[in-house]
Every structure is written in C-alpha cells, then in structure tokens.
Amino acid sequence: MKFPSFEYACPASLADAVALLSEEGDAMVLAGGQSLMPILAFRLAAPRLLVDLKNVPGLDTIKISAEDVRLGARVRWCDIEKHTGLSAAQPLLAEAISHVAHYQIRNRGTVGGSIALADPAAEMPGIAVTCDAEIALTGKLGERVVPAAKFFLGAMETCIQPDEIITEVRLPLWPSDRCWAFKEFARRRGDFALAGVAVFYDVDANGCAANTHIGVIGASDRPCRLGSAEQIINGAFLDATVIEAAAEAASNEIEPMEDHHAPADYRCALVKTLLERALTRAMA
C-alpha cells in the first residue's frame, strides 16, 4: 500500500498552519498520523497538502490548574500514561486512555487527532462528552470553544471547519471524592472497543448519588450520554436493584449500529453488562 501523492509542510507557528489550511482548500492536518496514514493508505482521502503540527509550539502541554485540566492537541497517549498528576486530577480520563491502542501507536497518537477523527468507538471523544469537556479551535477567524456535546455530529463527523485546528481540550475540575469507573470490551487489548461506558457521580449529604454522568462509546454513530440511566441513578442510594434498573434503561436507550464486529442486540447486552460492572465498581 502506497500513499497517494501529496505535498508536506511543517509550519513553525499556529498562525502559519492556519494560513496554509485556509489558502489550500485541499489540505489536511497531520498530528500523530496513526489514523491519517491508514486513511491515506486505503485512499479514503487524497489531500494535496499535509500540514504537520510537529513544530507548532505550545500544543504538547498538559496543564492542571484549580479550575480545569487542559490537554494540548498534540499530547500523546503515552504522555497521559506517564503524567504523574493526571490520575488524581482526572482519574476517569487516565483510566480510559490506558485502553487506547498499542504501545507503538500510543507513542504517536494524539488527543487532538482522536477528537478530530471522531471514531464512534474511540475513548477520548467519549470522555470529552461524558465529562462536559470543551474543545478549543483556532481558524482564520480566530479562536472558538465548542462544548463536546455539540462537537460530534456523526461517525467520523465533527463541526471542525477546513481552516480550523484543534488546539486544546479542557476538562472541568474533578472533585477528589467523586465516584467513577470506566469499562470497555475489546476483542484484543488495544483494539477499538466493541462498546465502553464511562461513569461518574457525586454523593450528596444524604449519601445519594447526584450529578450523574454516564457516557457510552461504540453504541451509536457518536459518543453520547445516557439520560434515562442517569435519571435512575440521580437521587438514589446505589444498590444492586438500582444498578440493574439503570443498566436495563441504558440498553433500551441505545440504538447501536450493526457491523461485522457485532450485531446490534449483542451491543445492547454488552452495554448493559458494562454499565452494571462500572456502577458496581464506582460504588465500591
């Protein structure tokens, strides 16, 4: 498999990168290349120009502050894995990202690339939606910030404009006593999950769950929250009966796609089991 012919640019600033994307209608951003290269190898895209972000400064930092956690677009899976502060500051993120891809791919694949790709089974978009993250983009008209819930439009479809570059993903503050869990099922470690669930809730003064967020990946054309299951958990004191009811509601709420990996019924059953396990774990 050989890539189609293209030109390559390696701009040294964000402004130059945006200028190249705006001038050249048929350009694509290159980050880790771990998805773009296979896309080019299969000739699913044939851009005239690749704009490599590797020399654009400031995109590879992880910033933890009192308000939020900011992941630069070029932060790689291995950077998240090795970061010493993230497992306390964003434990759900750290756990979910430990499931992404294989060793060699983790050394190059990036947060921004995964968000831009919008694979329905990818962990990072799922965490962004579950955690109410914001995605910062810079284009020729300047910067805009889009909530994750509005960012993903469908399978491999986002609201990014051709001249825009993702610069940062911002995750809101995470209280240290929050209950959480992430569970996914993949045929082989590091492969894309058949489905996965991310869960968190806070415990109120009466010991009941509040502010429940339940996100699911691999179960529809984009990552989404499961409102009916969240409603069952909110205000409840978690026990096996509540968990069973929420998991049942979740599997009724989703309308999974059917593909050669698994039929829709299987994915419904899988989401139910994963949510049961996740809630049981979160409560423990």
Partner: protein, 161 residues
C-alpha cells in the same frame, strides 16, 4: 524533499517524495531490509523501529517526519561478534519460527526493556499485543523478553553495538 537523519549511528541524507513512508525509505532507499512490512496500515507491528528512543510503526510515519531524528532499526540491534542478550534469549526460547515478525518483536522489546527493565509478564504481554506473530503462539516470545530483562537491568551487558 531532502531529509537528514541518523540511522544506526550513521548520518544519512535522502531525497524522497513526501508520500514515502519511513519503512519504504529504510528498505528501498537505504537498503535496510531488516525492517519488515506486513500490513502497511498499522496493525501488525512488523515494521517497528525506534525513533528518538521510542518504538513506533515505520509504516505510519513519513520519512519527511523523521527529519533530524535518531533512528534505530533491527540492524542496529545486532552485534558482529556475538548474539546480543535479546537475540540469545530469542534463540534459547525458540521465540521465532519463520522470523517475519521478529524485527518488530526485537525493536519493541528493546525499547521497552531500555525504559522498563523491570517490566513484568503482564506488561510484556500488554506491550507485545501490538505485534502479530502467526507462528509461535507468543508464549516463547514473552519468555525470551522476560529472560532478557536481566541484561537490561545492567546496561553494560545489554549494549547491542
């Protein structure tokens, strides 16, 4: 495009089209055919090389992206005089049969053990999950990598060059 990088200790300059993968550049331009191509889309791991100390898939990296980098291929992990500890362990445990996956296994294991000489069996399996072997059933490969750890804990002995 002119690209300059260091491969196995030698600085080389090549003139390649941007669309040429690092794997094709190594094999076809530099004639370093030890790096194998199995799938050419990132799933098999046979093409693994080490760039600036990190194991990466050379089929998913453009040669032009490697400008200025230091690259180690499987050729750079051998020694004219004797088997390296990793090679000796692969031989002892029959960790290869046809040998097609072996360059990727060796480069991946070398990168891992250089950084984590105390990697346990679970970690070794986790890391090697990105490399497909159609022959061995993986058990001997994991055993070989575990055995080679001792040499990496003592860096003088693991020196492959």
């Amino acid at each position: 495009m002119l690209v300059k990088f260091n491969v196995n200790g030698d600085t080389v300059e090549v003139d390649v089209e941007p669309r040429v993968s690092l794997a094709d550049c190594l094999r076809d331009v530099l004639h370093l055919t030890g790096t194998h191509l199995g799938c050419e889309h990132g799933v098999c791991g046979a093409c693994t090389v080490i760039i600036d100390g990190e194991a990466v898939r050379s089929c998913l990296t453009l040669a032009v992206q490697a400008d200025g980098a230091t690259i180690v291929t499987v050729e750079g992990l051998s020694n004219d005089n004797a088997l390296t500890p990793l090679q000796a362990a692969f031989r002892k445990h029959h960790a290869l049969q046809c040998g097609f996956c072996t360059p990727g296994m060796i480069t991946t294991a070398h990168a891992l053990l250089t950084e984590e000489p105390d990697a346990d069996a679970e970690r070794v399996r986790d890391v090697l999950s990105g490399n497909i072997c159609r022959c061995t059933g993986y058990v001997p490969i994991v055993e070989a990598v575990l055995e080679a750890r001792a040499a990496y804990a003592n860096p003088d002995k693991a020196d492959a060059s």
